[in-house]
Subunit: 193 residues, 2 copies
Amino acid sequence: VITIAAFRWVPEFARGQVRDLRARWALEEAGLPYRTRLLEQGDQDKADYRAQQPFGQVPLLEEDGLVLFESGAIVLHIGSRSEALLPQEPGARARATQWLIAALNSVEPFVMDVVRIDTFLSSLSNALGGKPYLDGERFTAGDLMMVAVLRLLERTGIVGSDPRLAAYLERCTGRPAFKRALAAQLADFREAA
Amino acid sequence: VITIAAFRWVPEFARGQVRDLRARWALEEAGLPYRTRLLEQGDQDKADYRAQQPFGQVPLLEEDGLVLFESGAIVLHIGSRSEALLPQEPGARARATQWLIAALNSVEPFVMDVVRIDTFLSSLSNALGGKPYLDGERFTAGDLMMVAVLRLLERTGIVGSDPRLAAYLERCTGRPAFKRALAAQLADFREAA
């Protein structure tokens, strides 16, 4: 029987995202039963777990003496015995593997950067608090630069999802000086056209 | 008189974001007149421009023989002569500078990662095209991993802003196997509580 290691506790925001979900999903697609080995806090740093999983992460798959870590390797291993995950036909199998590697290596690093920006922007929002500007009542060069940077996220919903930062952005870009500067930059492009 | 170098042409998505906007905004806040020096395509790689701006970027500020690059340095320079940007009081001036550096060094690197993910996800969306799954009609381990990664962005609006990727995410997470896996992970946390 297959055992998947998972954490007994993680913070609320991580529930439903911890990477043992990938192993569980693959097992469900393959129709293979499994049980979980739930790690208590601290277990992942103990020598016997590190001997199995050098990074102290989950998931870990155990089956008949085989021990595997890395969610990508575990999904490929489960896939090797189920057409529900990896087709038998060599070309189709290679392409399915290609997309799995693309997810882990070409997309996930960028995704994790976005996950990290959430933390950073909520610290910024806390620093702003109820003040109109970062240092209090007065607009400064610090606000100018911070807003110039935050505006780069305009097309994503990231800043808008924090009402305090969204109001701050609107307050600063509502300044007549900003409007004149933006109009001047856009006008230079129009003249060139 | 102050001259700011800017590009005569940039792609549509960059208009209103090119960094000479920061210099223009600072000059508007300070109430200082300026003129622009518009670079034709290729000018930024010519030796005479590189002698002034080693990275071939904009903005470049020129005034009475002074030549300055880096939008942060230009805003600080303009701020040094206007209380509208940098207060005279030393503590307030230091704090305004602190926020300007925070924007450039603690926030902008993460913001630029997000700007880059946009490009990456739109390539992924194009690769998916009108197909239900990445390799065509069949769900594979590649879809499993790609969706596990894309789900990490759930709390941002990034995936949702691409209808094709949003439908793909919904299609894959609507699979009974995914639902069972997610329910099992969440149930393990509930039991621990």
